[in-house]
Structures are given as C-alpha cells and as structure tokens.
Amino acid sequence: MTEDPVTPSQEGSGSRMGARAASAIGRSRTVRFALIAAALVAGPLLGILLITKIGPAILWLESPDSGPFWLSLRVALIATALAGTAGLGAGYLLAKKRFPGRDLLEAIGSVPIILPPTVLGYYLLQLLGDGNFAGRALTRLIGRPIVFTVTGCVVAASIAAFPFCMRAARAAIEGVDPRLEQAARAMGLPAWRVALQVTVPLARRGIAAGVTLGGMRALGEYGATLMVGGNIPGSTRTMSLAVADARSTSETHTLVLILVCMALAALAVISRLGRSRRTA
C-alpha cells in the first residue's frame, strides 16, 4: 500500500478503502490506479492471512508449497502484459483501419474463446513441439525449448487472454467520439499522438476492463497449459493445475481461496471501471 497520512486505518480493507482514500487525495488517476493495482495484490495476500495468519503465511510463501502460487503469478503477469499489448494493437487496427485480412485477424483473434482449451493446447503442442519444423525453428530462435517449460505456460496463458484484450480494446476504441479525434488533428497532433494521447486514454476504461478479464483468464488457464506446459510439479504446475491434482489437501484449500480472492478483486475492478463512466 502507498504511504498515506490521510487514511491511517487503511490496512486490511482492500479496494473500498482505497477508493475512498483516492477521492480524498483528490481525483488523481495515478493514485487511483496504483490503489487498484495494490488491491489486486492485496486480495490474495489477504486470503492467505485469513487462513494461515501472518506468520504461517510468510512461512507458506517461502515454502515449496507456494510454488504454484508464485508460478501462476509470474505466468499470469507476463501473459497479461503480452496479451494486453498485442490485444490493444489488434483492437486498434480492427477499430480504425480497413486492410486486407481484417476479418481474418478478427476471426483468428477470437478462436481461443471458441475452441476448447485442450484442443487449443493440442494444436499449440503440434505447432511448437520438436516434431515440427515451425517448432524446431522457434525453439532455435528463442534458444530454449517451449513445450513443457514455463515459456509454454506463458504462451498458453497469453493466447487464452488475447481475445478478451483484443475485443474489449476494439469496442472501447470504437466508442470514442470521432469528433474529439478530429479536434486533436486540427490542433496539429500527428496521427500517432492522436492515437496515444487521445484515442487510447479515452478508451482506457474499456481497455482496462478487458485486460483485467484477460488477466484472470490467464490466471485460470488450465487446458492448454496442461497440454503445452506438461503439469510438471515444481516446474510447470500452476495454481489451477495444482488444484485439480490435489483435491482435498490443505494446500488445495489455500490455493482455492487465493484464486477466489483474486477473482473477487478482479470483479470489483471491472465493475468499478464500468460504473463510474463520466464524461469520457
């Protein structure tokens, strides 16, 4: 949490206190988004606190049991960054440009939503594995194997998250008043600055909601991660995979609670992004 003299009673009560503090501080966007981000991290930590108390929680975080948690966090963060960036780019192109292959981009970009995750994983395995020219070429390019490694998990999670980011970005960008973009052009702003300083900021809520959704999809990715990552304990076993494997141990309960808390935090973020749409 940020240091904030105005709200001494802040710790322990997540995003609602954060939001109140933000409005008290004075409508600063940076502060508000920092608090939302902090809430995303605070959610799962709070979950750990609740079941194990602080001391054991720290022990747990340092023990091998928390391996899936750290792995999932790492994989989901990298995948969200990748899918968010690519999804924003693709969404922008779909919303603004007419080019050959546009329909194809939209269709392919949406496939991961429609295809069963295991089928997606099967194709990824075929494509990226050693038995295939593309897979061997990619492996050589990256310099390390993709399938049955953390890289494979990141690839699977990124692809699963991508459609949500792309579709939300597209819808949000299409919702920006084109006359504001015209006004910006008349001000002399070059096209790239209109895109980065007008269009994307005005669409930021929709984009952020899509990225949050995609991030949760990446965190919960199961089928494709199982196929491509291989579910190797201590190496590529993410939280979702670990939950499925060990059905009723206390470790499972911890992981389930963490996932539920993160989901609730994400839900709060998304509903907040959707609700307070002002004169944007």
């Binding site: 006359r179 504001l180 015209q182 008349a186 001000m187 002399g188 702003l189 004169t279 944007a280």
Partner: protein
C-alpha cells in the same frame, strides 16, 4: 500578399451537393445561412476533415487540396486552428494541457505551457488552467476553445458556430471577445453562423449561403469608433442590460 484562403470545390454527400468558390483576403469572413446550407461542410473541407470530390483549396497561398493533381495535405499539416460549437476540449486533459497540446510551433513542454498560459490570460480564462473541461460552463469552455484554436499560430482560424450553444448573455460577451482577440492577433478567420446579428457584428465580409451555393457576398463597414452605429449599439446594450439583470450568475460563472 497571398490570400488567406482560396476555395473552389465541389462535394456531394448523399442528396446534398455543395459547389462553392470564394477568396478571403484577411479579417473575419462570416459564412451565414440556414442550417443545412453547407456552411459547416465548407469548414470541414478546408480543415481536411472531409475530402472534396473535386476542386482546389489553398491556405495562405499554399495549396492543401488539388484533386486533379492528387494533393491532399493532412489536417495536422494544414496549420489551421479550429473552434467547434461544443468546444470539443479533450475531456481527459486539463484546460492548460488542451491549449498547450495545440502549441505546435514549440517543442519544449515548458515553453508550450507558458504560451498556453498567455493565451488563457488573453481570453480571460487564466484561473481555469488546472480544471478539467467537464467542470466548465459553456462560456468558459468556448473561451478555452478559442485559446486552443489560436495557440498554434494558425494561418487560418475556423470557427464553426462557436456561440450557438450558449445563452444570450454569454453569447454577447464572447462575441466581443472573439472580435477583439482576432483583431489583436490579425489571424484571418472564417466563422460559420446562422445568427444574422452575429454575422453582422463579427464579419468584415459576410458570405451568404443558400442550399449548397453562395447566394451573395457583401462587406461590412466597421468604423473604428463604434458609437456611429448608434442604433445597433443602443439596441444591443439595452437588451444586454435586461438580459443581465435576471441572470447575473451566468456572467459571474463565466468570468
């Protein structure tokens, strides 16, 4: 010296056909006519927000559109300033940012902001610098929009019904402001309005639009000492007084 703007274009949009040709040397040229007569379309064509089916446009002697030669300079490169009816300030930036972003002749942020502050001062909106456009009144918004339009040292200022969304009292105030600020800077300007009084008071030249064409052009004499135009002035003053009395908050909020 080359003309501020030379236009000879034809454009068709659905059923509507626009064919206009005119030259503006300097001062404020008002496009006056009923809505749907193609005034705003003319501005959009000059600004490059629309591309004419045929014809040429030159701003300050520089050809920005020549369909037969395939010339079509982008809006960004036309060195225009634009004031829209509802301001169209960028809602996610402060008033100062809105003006500073338009200061295209300078590259350093500090210098741009300093110029922007000057312009806000000149339109009487200096104290609004840190506000967001969403919190401004209509009159304040148009003051800022005027500052933004002029801050980029445009070769031509386009004003598209800049006062039409405002209350009568505020409209009078801003009419005087627009006249004074444009006169002080000497920027050639094209102003679109459907308000006869506004056309008469602001325009050095009034170009009257009928459906898709120019119906007539006449110049307006504005003798430097204003009193000789006694009839107009007296009328305006008495009206603004009766107007001002019941609605003082509008004026205060605007200042």
């Amino acid at each position: 010296m080359s003309a501020a703007v030379e236009v000879d274009v034809a454009h068709r949009l659905g059923e509507f056909e626009l064919a206009v040709a005119f030259t503006v040397q300097s001062g404020i040229a008002v496009r006056f006519g009923p809505s749907g007569s193609g005034k705003s379309m003319t501005l959009a064509l000059i600004a490059g927000l629309l591309r004419p089916d045929s014809g040429t446009i030159a701003i300050g002697g520089r050809v920005v559109v020549d369909r037969s030669r395939g010339i079509d300079v982008s809006t960004q490169q036309r060195r225009i300033g634009m004031v829209f009816q509802d301001g169209l300030l960028l809602p996610h930036r402060t008033v100062l940012d809105n003006v500073a972003l338009a200061v295209r002749q300078l590259s350093k942020r500090r210098e741009r902001r300093a110029v922007a502050r000057d312009w806000l001062e000149r339109v009487g909106a200096a104290e609004l610098a840190d506000r967001r456009p969403g919190s401004l009144s209509g009159g304040q918004r148009q003051r800022v929009a005027l500052a933004r339009g002029l801050a980029g040292e445009p070769a031509l200022l386009l004003l598209d019904e800049p006062l039409s969304a405002l209350d009568l009292g505020v409209r009078r105030e801003l009419r005087a402001l627009i006249r004074d600020v444009i006169a002080a800077t000497g920027v050639p300007s094209l102003l679109v309005t459907h308000d006869a009084e506004e056309a008469q008071e602001l325009g050095d030249v009034v170009i009257e639009y009928a459906y898709g064409t120019i119906a007539g052009t006449h110049s307006v004499e504005h003798p430097p000492p204003r009193p000789p135009e006694a009839e107009v002035e007296v009328e305006a003053e008495t009206e603004s007084e009766t107007e001002a009395a019941p609605t003082p908050p509008a004026h205060e909020a605007d200042a």
